[in-house]
């Protein structure tokens, strides 16, 4: 998209005829695209866009998601209008970036926030209709002592029919939507009916082609319904629990228990307050947020966790920056030989998969068999004590992170004009003084946004904690919050460690974390601006 825009604009500045002033003319050359190459780019890009849109529409139509279909259509129309009409010139530049921003940044945030107001979780995923279907389906029991028929699926005209053979008695039946009748004069072979007058027995492939019809086809009988299981077996089943729309409740035919729908929690609940496992998704308002604020274990551990969370992120940034700076300064000296080799070696850990590195380090910190204790001759239980666990985590973070800092600092150092420090040394400034007053502030201006980004990343660095210490050590009286847990690992345990995944609750906590990180980032960037003004 962006390329075609650029082409369009360069062509115009090269002296193509100005766009039609009426503004009504729409077409490939309406905005003055004249060169064949520009036109080709434009046709290809718009064609690709249209193709992607059509591909996106097919599954949306199949799953009947009309709102999203409308969104796709509207976006496509806008894109075509923007690039085929001469008027919206700023939009030609903005549209690709805006679309990507919406898709990858804004949409996930909107989804997360809207999920936070629901009870979306395991057991509460779909609609009430789906829950009812699941409850009735799960309660379909085979009627005791009823025969298991050998089944041949057949058609009578265009209607389905089940040709059934009771293997115990040898009786043959025909089952239709109206009920079960005896069948005379059927041909049998190998315990199944192969042909009968007036019926066409279907092959497996033919049955499979009508799968949905066959799977939902039932033959009513006195005891229940005859249902197929696969292509060659049918049994008499009766749903034990059925839904009654009159009372909006589920009734158990055997025990007589009744569960009434409770729209506030999205479950069928009996008189004692016990809910059926299959529920549905409902809006619960601010409940997830109030649960975060009032949960006793959260309140007890929150302050401690947030202090360590800040310390973890800040210390990680500071130590990686400090070591990265030292190494970068050392390797920035042009008198040093083999700088490229050193630099490549230092960047090497950065090129390894982080997850694998965390796991390797965890094993190296093993109390009895780890490399570190063996090398030092110590018996430190690294992840068994709060202080050593924190030190171990920060050491790994340092090893994994300083090379990145080294990389960006080296780049920034090379962009600082050498004449500044040369001028300072001419004026008699010592090396360290000119570094402190000239190089370092200039570095900070260039790198402050990166440091803030690094902080925000480490604030939510789930894998660092989860793969190294898992939050350990845990106090024996509180298995929910470990001494090295950060907010994201702690809330992961709260939201997904219980009975199934609780997305609504997790989303509510994410909103809180988002607010914290957002505020810090805004304040941080304000400070950066002040820094720039000073210089």
């Amino acid at each position: 998209m962006a390329r075609s825009t650029a082409d369009v604009e360069t062509t115009r500045s090269a002296g193509a005829p100005p766009p039609s002033p009426s503004g009504k003319e729409v077409g490939l050359t309406a905005d003055g695209t004249g060169s064949p190459l520009g036109l080709l780019f434009k046709i290809l890009a718009l064609g690709l866009f249209a193709a992607v849109a059509v591909f996106a529409c097919i599954p949306l139509i199949r799953t009947e998601r009309w709102v999203w279909l409308a969104v796709v259509v509207v976006v496509t129309v806008i894109a075509f209008w923007v690039y085929l009409s001469p008027r919206p010139i700023p939009l030609k530049y903005l549209l690709p970036g805006t679309l990507l921003l919406l898709v990858f940044q804004v949409l996930p945030v909107v989804f997360t926030v809207s999920t936070a107001f629901t009870n979306f979780s395991d057991g509460h995923r779909g609609s009430q209709e789906e829950a009812i279907a699941a409850i009735e389906g799960a309660s379909l029991q085979r009627v005791p002592d009823s025969p298991v028929f050998s089944l041949s699926v057949a058609t009578q005209g265009s209607d389905l029919a089940f040709l059934l053979l009771d293997p115990d008695t040898g009786d043959t039946f025909v089952g239709t939507e109206d009920g079960l009748d005896e069948l005379q004069g059927a041909d049998e072979s190998d315990g199944t009916i192969t042909a009968a007058d007036g019926f066409t027995v279907l092959t497996t492939a033919e049955v499979a082609a009508r799968s949905e019809e066959v799977a939902t086809f039932t033959v009513p009988t006195d005891d229940g319904v005859i249902k197929s299981q696969g292509v060659s077996i049918a049994y008499v089943g009766a749903p034990q629990q059925t839904y009654d729309p009159a009372c909006d409740c589920i009734t158990d035919a055997v025990t007589g228990e009744v569960w009434t729908a409770d729209g506030d929690v999205g479950s069928f609940v009996d008189a004692d307050g016990n809910a059926l496992a299959q529920g549905w998704q409902v809006n619960v308002g601010l409940e997830n947020f109030s649960r975060v604020l009032t949960d006793p274990t959260i309140r007890a551990s929150f302050l401690r966790i947030i202090v360590w969370n800040f310390a973890f992120a800040i210390i990680t940034v500071v130590i990686t920056f400090a070591l990265g700076l030292l190494v970068a300064l050392a390797l920035n000296n042009s008198r040093l030989r083999g700088r490229t080799i050193y630099r490549s070696l230092i960047i090497l850990p950065y090129a390894m998969p982080v997850v694998a590195m965390y796991l390797v380090w965890r094993e190296m910190f093993n109390t009895d068999f780890g490399l570190i204790n063996r090398m030092l001759g110590t018996e430190i239980n690294w992840f068994g004590n709060t202080a050593s666990s924190m030190i171990a985590i920060l050491l790994v973070q340092l090893w994994l992170g300083y090379n990145y800092m080294f990389l960006v600092i080296t780049g920034a150092l090379q962009s600082i004009p050498a004449d500044l420090t040369e001028a300072a040394s001419v004026d008699g400034a010592k090396k360290f003084y000119s570094f402190r007053t000239i190089t370092f502030p200039l570095l900070l201006v260039a790198l402050a946004p990166l440091l803030i980004a690094s902080f925000a990343f480490n604030f939510n660095n789930f894998s660092a904690i989860y793969l190294l210490s898992e939050g350990a050590p845990f106090s024996p009286d509180n298995p929910a919050a470990g001494a090295t847990d950060i907010l994201i690992t702690y809330t992961y345990r709260l939201a997904f460690g219980g009975a199934g995944a609780d997305y609504g609750f997790a989303a509510a906590i994410s909103v809180f974390i988002f607010l914290i990180v957002g505020v810090i980032s805004v304040v941080g960037f304000r400070q950066t601006r002040a820094l720039e003004e000073v210089n």
């Binding site: 029991q141 077996i233 049994y235 093993n366 219980g498």
Partner: protein, 412 residues
């Protein structure tokens, strides 16, 4: 530290888009197709190959997609919600509770000719709320492997095992009494034989044999007694159980000769066969005069998806084809797994003595791992409590606290 995120998300987005296209263009239903999802690995490869036989017999297309095992359950639930579900999914039996509460799998009738060949425990594992949900094909449970050079006879009790191990350590032949996976944050799956041997249980069962989430064994006195004994074996006691040994390094301690005993699962048999240590298999022993040590039995089974496009073929595959003894035998031979069918077990009794030994140990004292969704609330707090007790914490308060955490999670 900060990695470029936008490229990753763009790639993910493209992949998503492409997969959407794939399923859309593959939606041509003229040729009937069965879609099966299974976990990656030896078992998945074997399943993918054997499932093709179903297609050949019935004249339909069979497509097996392998998903990493730790993502399979959540991918399946998400796909069911988005109406992109496969027709059949194969995975561990303890998923059943969660899959049922999300309305993603259908009950089946075990009426096929070979259904009677399935081990009773395997059928019990796939039974949930009095309904059978899956066709079991493998059973896993942990056993004791011993180095037969150092220990020719299987120890009958835990005391005997520890005494033997300590003698070997004192003689300098090994460095560890026993390689028992604990890990820094505990592992209730591995500790279950010792926990049950000391008189504990996790969930009780009702009269019909269903697990009862209201009957939490951790809040019973037996749990504290049992964990007191586990604590006595821990780091501040006999130092037999230690957090530095986990599922990651237990087997290497054994195969490097540092321990004469290791408690591990049958999935390590291929690794043991590759090693040089001569080994033998026996059940994890209990305490002297105490109840049996029960390892958890997990069963792999295939399930019919509620929202599959071709449910008839899914049912036929699961209830008829996958339950057949010849198919299960072919799977066992390809995957080298512990079979759920007694007929298969008899068939391989002469050729695979290790597999039979694992199956015998499970049949002797194993118990089905609870499949109710509430079990998900147990793992994490109980593991932490276990690790703390092995580190030397007071069993009484630690277990009581873990039990109340679990009760709160189940209730809420």
């Amino acid at each position: 530290m900060r990695r470029p995120g936008i490229v990753g998300s763009a790639l993910a987005g493209t992949a998503l888009l492409l997969s959407g296209c794939g399923s859309a263009s593959g939606g041509d239903q003229d040729a009937a197709q069965l879609l099966v999802w299974a976990g990656t690995g030896t078992g998945g490869d074997a399943l993918a190959e054997i499932a093709q036989g179903f297609g050949e017999e019935l004249g339909v297309d069979v497509k097996v997609e392998l998903v990493p095992g730790d993502q399979l359950q959540s991918s399946f639930v998400t796909a069911s919600q988005g109406n992109n579900a496969p027709d059949v999914v194969c995975g561990a039996h303890d998923w059943i509770g969660n899959l049922v509460q999300n309305g993603t799998i259908d009950p089946i009738q075990l009426v096929g000719p070979d259904a009677a060949q399935l081990q009773e425990l395997a059928v019990q594992a796939v039974t949930y709320n009095n309904q059978v949900y899956g066709m079991p094909f493998t059973m896993n449970s942990i056993v004791l492997y011993r180095n037969t050079d150092l220990v020719p006879e299987a120890p009958a009790t835990m005391e005997e095992l520890i005494a033997t191990g300590e003698q070997l350590v004192a003689a300098g032949q090994v460095t560890e009494v026993l390689a028992y996976p604990v890990g820094p944050t505990g592992n209730p799956y591995f500790i279950n034989p010792l926990y049950t041997a000391g008189g504990g249980y996790i969930f009780g069962t009702d009269a019909e044999g269903n697990f009862d989430p209201a009957d939490l064994g951790l809040s019973q006195p037996g749990a504290v007694e049992s964990y007191t004994r586990i604590g006595a074996l821990g780091e501040t006691g006999q130092n037999v159980l230690k957090r530095s040994i986990s599922g990651d390094n237990a087997l290497s301690l054994f195969s490097e000769g540092q321990s004469a005993f290791v408690v591990e699962g049958p999935w390590q048999l291929p690794n043991l066969a590759k090693g040089t240590i001569p080994y033998a298999i026996s059940p994890v022993p209990g305490y002297e005069g105490g109840p049996a040590a029960s390892p958890f039995i997990t069963v792999d089974a295939c399930y019919v998806a509620s929202k599959g496009e071709n449910k008839v073929l899914g049912q036929e595959f699961v209830t008829d084809f996958w339950g057949r003894t010849d198919v299960q035998l072919a799977y066992q031979e390809a995957a080298d797994s512990v079979p759920a069918s007694t007929a298969v077990l008899e068939e391989i009794s002469a050729t695979a003595p290790d597999i039979v030994a694992v199956a015998d140990a499970a049949a002797a004292s194993g118990q089905i791992m609870p499949s109710i969704p509430e079990m998900a609330a147990v793992w994490d707090p109980l593991g932490k409590a276990q690790a703390a007790i092995i580190a030397g914490a007071d069993p009484q308060t630690t277990i009581t606290q873990a039990a109340s955490t679990i009760e709160a999670a189940i209730g809420g």
